[in-house]
């Protein structure tokens, strides 16, 4: 656990949260810095880019969602929202703006570290621009548009393939219903979350060993889906 995982910035105005998280994150291998305000965080990121940002939505000087938007104007670093706001609409907005994941307070450090690992790994996979995606029994060959489960080819409809592709492209990350709808049906559509649910059920039938308790295509209730890449 003493490997160097890079720099991590906690943006939270509650000092006790920073105090409680710092030791464990440091022990896990991150160099931890903290900012109590949105502007401070943006200035710190501009000078010294972080490898991971943990962001609270309720900041004293600006809304955390604006911080996400500002970071995304120039940086692609993983952002994990850690917030006490449990309104689904807040989560969806944060994710639509480009946050990688959303974790509710309170959270144990074990889960938080797992989420951080998943997001970082998903990014690595995505940005290595490999023509193949491989996780567990699932294998995707993007140029050939071939999907294999346990080495056997699975036939997907074009929409099922689009759905799988966007989830694989954001492996480990939550993809909102809206993002899926735009990727699969296009922006000029009246498709809604129900369409996504139906399509997801079809995809699970073909890919999951046990479609009723999936361990690959995970549901984020009320928000969207995630392709698991956690061991």
């Amino acid at each position: 656990m003493s490997e160097d995982l890079g720099r991590l910035l906690i943006v939270d105005d509650e000092s006790q949260i920073v105090r409680a998280l710092t030791p464990a994150l440091t022990a896990a291998g991150f160099k931890v810095a903290s900012a109590a305000k949105g502007e401070t965080a943006l200035a710190m990121l501009a000078n010294d880019p972080s490898d991971v940002v943990i962001l609270d939505l309720g900041l004293p000087d600006m809304d955390g969602k604006d911080v996400i938007q500002r970071i995304r104007e120039w940086s692609d670093c993983p952002i994990i929202v850690l917030s006490a706001r449990d309104l689904e609409i807040e989560k969806i907005r944060a994710l639509d703006l480009g946050a990688d994941d959303f974790v509710n307070k309170p959270v144990g450090v074990g889960e938080l570290l797992a989420r951080i690992r998943a997001v970082v790994r998903g990014r690595e996979r995505r940005f290595s621009a490999q023509p193949q995606f491989q996780f567990g029994d699932l294998e995707i060959n993007f140029p050939a548009r071939r999907v294999l489960v346990k080495g056997e080819e699975v036939r997907l409809t074009p929409r099922e393939y689009q759905l799988l592709r966007i989830l694989a492209g954001h492996a480990g990350q939550v993809v909102t219903h809206k993002q899926i709808i735009i990727a699969v049906w296009g922006s000029e559509t009246n498709a809604d979350a129900q369409f996504v649910r139906v399509l997801m059920a079809q995809l699970r039938q073909k890919l999951e060993a046990e479609p009723s308790s999936p361990n690959l295509l995970m549901t984020e209730p009320g928000i969207g889906y995630r392709l698991s890449c956690e061991d």
């Binding site: 409680a20 449990d86 309170p106």
Partner: protein, 506 residues
């Protein structure tokens, strides 16, 4: 309520004087007779003066005047009477009917023809004038009505006034029926038949404006909901009917607008309540979850990495758990106090107590939990003992301190002081935060009220309302003021009665 004005526009057509116009039928005939008599008298005088018996012209003039003044009917009568008089006159001067001359035969024909033509012309002019008058009056009422409707936001009031205006415009009776509420104007009394026709029309599914006739009433379905009805006397012509419909429709539009405005206001009020509830819920969840998050993160850190941490880190995490648990407890206690205040179950045990000791204890607890703020205390001369409930006073003071810390920057000073003023002990807490607008000061102690500058800082708006609640509960006061020295910030003062010196401190 403005008085309905009748139209007083200048007459376009100068016709008969108004008293003649208002005459009833016998009166008109009497007038005709009088005119004939007058012309006959004039003819007599004329024939005496000129020694001529050519008086037919004067009589003809009488017929002309009669027809002009009172219409064709009395005109015919005047023609007949004049002709008879003329005959009588001739009979008296020249013996025998055979003595008629061609001129007389001509007169026999001329008199009624003149009377007919003249009366007809006059009658038409008079009718036209009457219509113009009615239309002018209606236009004035319509103008007055729409002006009043547009200035009014109360649908019920517009309904009442619409009935009045319709009655005034029709110069008869009118009613407006909407949602089973009946408003009448001009002393209207509705027969069951009219009433049921109106109700049937009001319940028609299509919201189209249309009119029906029922027992002399014109009943119009209004565009929004309900119906308006009127009965005019005399029955109005099509143009007048149009004006009445326009008036009814203008009233209906005003009622719809007023109802929509009321609905909008209601929806806005509901949205505000909803907003308040949402922000309260999210504040409470934030205030509960933040300490919980620190506790859970610290505990799981110790569990997972405990053996990797040095002793200082472990100690720090344990301290975080303890402090955050205390903070959680304080928050729950506050919610409890709020509930007790709400239900009136606050139980104050007032006695003389050592104020300085309670203040110092509270201050030290805060210094430990909130090491980033410097809290100083300057006890005042003679302000040692106060009468109140020490436990509740500590609750109030803790809330005031929490409030000061919440809104002032770390490393700033929070100054506590006490003073004896006019038999009361005043404890003041001054912070170096941004303060509030002077206009907001009286509202700071209201439940759920949060200063305009506090929107970014999480909070429930409960703290200071609890302060005021418990201070009042033990006979004290809580007030807010702005700092009067050079610094910005708020000064909150808690006042309790001072204890007599001989009383024993508890």
């Amino acid at each position: 309520m403005p008085v309905l004005r009748a139209a007083t526009l200048p007459r376009r057509l100068l016709l008969s004087p108004s008293w003649i116009v208002r005459l009833n039928a016998p009166g008109r005939y009497a007038l005709a007779l009088a005119v004939v008599m007058a012309s006959w008298s004039a003819a007599q005088i004329l024939s005496q003066l000129t020694s001529s018996n050519r008086i037919s012209g004067v009589l003809l003039a009488g017929v002309l005047v009669t027809s002009y003044l009172v219409g064709s009917g009395p005109g015919y009568a005047a023609a007949i009477v004049s002709f008879l008089i003329y005959n009588f006159y001739l009979g008296a001067s020249i013996v025998g009917v055979a003595a008629y001359r061609a001129e007389d035969i001509l007169l026999l024909v001329t008199f009624p023809v003149v009377a007919f033509l003249m009366g007809n012309l006059t009658g038409r002019l008079r009718d036209e004038t009457k219509r113009t008058d009615i239309r002018q009056r209606m236009t004035a009422v319509l103008f007055e009505g729409t002006r009043e409707f547009s200035a009014c936001d109360d649908a019920a009031f517009i309904r009442v006034r619409l009935a009045d205006y319709l009655a005034a415009a029709a110069q008869g009776q009118a009613f407006v029926l909407e949602d089973e509420v009946l408003c009448t104007g001009g002393g209207a009394e509705l027969t069951p038949m009219v009433m049921s026709a109106a109700q049937a029309l009001a319940q028609e599914a299509s919201g189209e404006a249309r009119s029906i006739e029922a027992a002399g009433w014109r009943v119009r379905r209004l565009s929004g909901a309900g119906v308006a009805g009127w009965r005019a006397d005399p029955a109005p012509g099509p143009q007048e009917e149009d004006l009445l419909q326009i008036l009814a429709d203008a009233g209906a539009a005003a009622m719809t607008r007023a109802q929509m405005a009321a609905g909008k206001a209601g929806a806005e009020a509901r949205a505000r309540t909803e907003d308040l509830r949402n922000s309260l819920l999210s504040s409470i969840s934030h205030d509960l979850r933040t300490p919980l998050a620190a506790v859970l993160a610290s505990a799981t850190s110790l569990q997972q990495f405990g053996d990797k941490f040095d002793a200082k880190t472990r100690q720090d995490l344990i301290a975080t758990i303890q402090e955050e648990a205390e903070r959680l407890n304080a928050f729950v206690t506050n919610l409890l106090h709020m509930t007790r205040l709400e239900s009136g179950a606050l139980d104050a045990h007032s006695a003389a107590f050592d104020l300085a000791e309670v203040i110092d204890r509270t201050r030290r607890r805060f210094e430990r939990l909130r090491a980033h703020w410097k809290i100083s205390f300057a006890p005042g001369e003679g302000a040692g003992l106060a009468v109140g409930d020490p436990v509740l006073f500590q609750v109030a003071l803790a809330n005031v301190l929490e409030n000061a810390i919440r809104y002032s920057p770390p490393q700033s000073n929070i100054s506590l002081s006490s003073a004896l003023e006019e038999g009361a002990v005043v404890v003041r807490v001054a912070d170096e935060g941004p303060g509030v607008e002077a206009s907001e000061l009286p509202r700071l102690f209201e439940k759920f009220y949060r200063g305009a500058s506090a929107k970014r800082t999480p909070g429930t708006g409960l703290g200071l309302s609890i302060v005021r609640g418990v201070m009042h509960g033990m006979g004290g006061q809580a007030e807010a003021a702005l700092r009067t020295d050079a610094k910005s910030g708020l000064v909150l003062s808690l006042t309790l009665p001072a204890a007599e010196r001989h009383e024993e401190a508890v």
